[in-house]
């Protein structure tokens, strides 16, 4: 039997070392699995983690890959910190892309300078609207937000599929499910530095993502709203005592994370695709959940965590090309890393003891428990 007693204080040491240790252990376990299955572990690790970073433009592409993850995970960090489980980011991405696309495609007359802001607002509104649904159902009817938000991802995916194959399909696309291309004002341009030109695929959305994460960190740690989120997540009764409203907190964080996911959808389309297609998110909504946890729900940590996961994704591409591994192998690393990080959280917060039960105790069904009387 494992017994856990809460620790009195969480040392800074442990907080920093646990993720580092988890990463190292993940590499070991991953390498071990590769070896067992007949792949060369060091070649695999090289392809995964070193090769994608060998050139500056590759590093830039790493940031491009991490961009949507960072934006979404920043919003999710607030949600999860408040103990609200938004699993529907995948759908909120889609709705954001759709609403922004609607602005780009049907209001081309908007002055160029205002187009981006208009699309951003539309994207936020779209994501927020979808996230609002599990929120209102939870606050009014006490419905489980995990399942509702999950179901809505399907609805959103089907919705965009219908739009792009139906009413929004470009008549000149030769039957392919694509909308018309966005005008230039609706596209996110590559970053061009004087004298250097573009760096890989680096676009301004990346800059926005980084700024967003920093701003979010500020909000989380220095504003009353951030404080509210943390208190309501850790001790809702103390939150009410403090004067915070549970329903408003729930709706607030859901709308915030929905808005972030929506913007991420818009950015991905405007930076990389230039038009709407049936699939605008490639599991980012779910991967971002992992990123949020890897970041231990800290917006600054989201940057680092986003880069790590993006690295694993890019690494998966390389491993596929160089070693014939299937693309999904990335999941091996991110999955193990998350397991170990979650376990690390437990070790951080509790003093864990494993008591090997004596055989006779097992027989009489003994239970040991230590509760306050």
């Amino acid at each position: 039997m494992i017994s856990m007693t809460p620790r009195k204080d969480i040392s800074m040491q442990r907080t920093v070392l646990t993720p580092v240790f988890s990463v190292l252990l993940t590499l070991c376990v991953g390498a071990g699995i590769f070896a067992v299955l007949g792949y060369d572990p060091s070649a695999a690790l090289y392809q995964f983690f070193v090769a994608p970073l060998s050139r500056p433009d590759q590093v830039a592409d790493l940031f491009v890959k991490a961009c949507p993850l960072i934006i979404i995970a920043t919003g999710l960090a607030f949600c999860y910190r408040a103990n609200v489980w938004n699993i529907g980011a995948e759908g909120q991405i889609v709705m954001g892309a759709v609403c922004a696309g609607g602005v780009a495609l049907f209001f081309p007359a908007i002055p160029d300078l205002l187009m981006m802001p208009a699309m951003i607002i539309a994207a936020m509104a779209g994501g927020m609207a979808l996230a609002f649904i599990p929120g209102i159902l939870k606050t009014r009817f006490n419905t489980n937000e995990i399942l509702v938000s999950l179901m809505l991802t399907y609805v959103a995916a089907l919705f965009i599929d219908w739009l792009v194959r139906g009413p929004w399909r470009d008549p000149e696309s030769f039957g392919f499910p694509l909308t018309k291309s966005y005008g230039d004002a609706a596209l996110i341009q590559r970053v061009e530095l004087p004298g250097i030109g573009t760096i890989g695929q680096l676009h301004w959305g990346v800059v926005a993502a980084l700024l967003l994460a920093v701003a979010a960190y500020f909000v989380m740690s220095k504003t009353v709203f951030g404080f509210q989120v943390k208190v309501m997540g850790d001790a809702p009764r103390a939150g009410r005592f403090s004067g915070f409203n549970p329903a408003r907190t729930t709706l607030g964080v859901l709308c915030l994370s929905g808005a972030c996911a929506g913007v991420a959808g818009m950015v991905e389309v405007s930076a990389n695709m230039g038009q709407l297609q049936p699939e605008v998110s490639f599991g980012y909504g779910f991967t971002a959940i992992i990123v949020a946890f890897l970041a231990r729900l800290n917006p600054l940590g989201v940057i680092m965590a986003g880069l790590v996961v993006a690295l694993a994704e890019l690494g998966g591409d390389r491993a596929q090309m160089a070693l014939g591994m299937p693309k999904v192998v990335t999941g091996l690393f991110t999955g193990i890393l998350l397991f170990l990080l979650l376990a690390g959280e437990t070790f951080n917060r509790y003093h864990v003891q494993i008591n090997w039960p004596r055989f006779d105790q097992l027989k009489s069904g003994q239970l040991k428990s230590d509760e306050e009387g």
Partner: protein, 304 residues
């Protein structure tokens, strides 16, 4: 023509029935395991690999069950042993299972196997209409129906099932009476994994006899929705599985007959219906108590 369609609907629903039945047991005990997709893929790859290597699809089925159970055991170690967050751990399990299965299955891509053969049940298979549809299926399909019935009996008529339901309804009361909440949940979770593994096996062994990464294509998530749609009652899983599984078929029929409604909206219906069911369940506190395992997803720490 109609026969073939109905048969397809039935076959498509089998993996959903298997996976949902397993997840139902886990959830009735109070554990939300979002890793169904990952467990199914582990089952699928194990089934394909072992069948490919041994030539015996039944060995493949057993390997799939074992793979699913072992994958679920990982989940149990973290969520029950170390009290980690069930949502995060479940997602990690899905991503991990998808990745590991892809890796294990890589050498097998492009191959085919001789899967499970249909087994006719004597006498019954000669019935008009029903005979061809229901009684000429493979053994795993029969197994799915049998398991569903067994689980229904187990939950409602057996003492062990009663204990499971009690644990899911109120783990504190169960503990106060002296039952080991963790042991019950562990068994439920592993059973869920075993069933998910079998569900995964059905894909390469019956539906599409090859292996490709991620071949479950979201069926695990559908199974999760199915459990809620069925209000955690085994009897409704059958209907729901036929509904969810058959929705694509219905779309084809609809298109052939020139129905007005775009197919995507038809496809949305099961998910919207699930949300409606969820709201109805949670609105009425008494109804909720009757249906949803009240302690679903809550971590049990009080006693160790």
């Amino acid at each position: 023509m109609m026969d073939a369609l109905i048969l397809t609907v039935i076959l498509t629903s089998i993996p959903l029935i298997l996976a949902a039945t397993g997840e139902l047991i886990a959830e009735r005990s109070g554990v939300l395991n979002l890793g169904v997709e990952g467990m199914m893929l582990m089952g699928a790859v194990a089934a394909f690999a072992i069948t490919s290597l041994s030539g015996n699809p039944y060995l493949g089925v057993m390997a799939a069950a074992a793979a699913g159970a072992m994958t679920a055991a990982i989940f149990a170690v973290f969520t029950l042993g170390l009290a980690t967050n069930q949502v995060a751990t479940g997602l990690a399990l899905t991503i991990f299972g998808t990745g590991l299965s892809g890796l294990v299955g890589a050498p097998f891509v492009g191959g085919t196997v001789d899967g499970l053969q249909a087994v006719s049940i004597p006498v019954l298979s000669d019935l008009p209409v029903l005979g061809g549809l229901l009684f000429q299926l493979d053994l795993l399909a029969y197994g799915a129906f049998v398991m569903l019935a067994l689980v229904a009996w187990f939950l409602n008529k057996s003492r062990a099932g009663l204990i499971l339901r009690a644990v899911g309804n109120n783990h504190d009361s169960a503990h106060a009476l002296g039952y080991s909440v963790l042991r019950v949940r562990c068994a439920a979770v592993i059973f869920g994994g075993l069933m998910a593994g079998l569900a995964g096996a059905y894909l390469p062994l019956v539906l599409t006899p090859h292996w490709s990464e991620g071949m479950t294509a979201g069926r695990g998530w559908i199974a999760l929705a199915l459990v809620v749609f069925a209000s955690w009652m085994p009897s409704r899983i059958l209907i729901g599985a036929l509904l969810f599984g058959g929705i694509t078929i219905i779309q084809l029929v609809g298109q052939a007959r020139g129905w007005e409604m775009p197919s995507q909206f038809l496809s949305m219906l099961p998910y919207l219906a699930t949300i409606a069911v969820l709201v109805l369940i949670s609105r009425d506190r008494n109804f909720a108590l009757m249906r949803a395992p009240a302690h679903l997803g809550r971590i049990f720490i009080g006693t160790r």
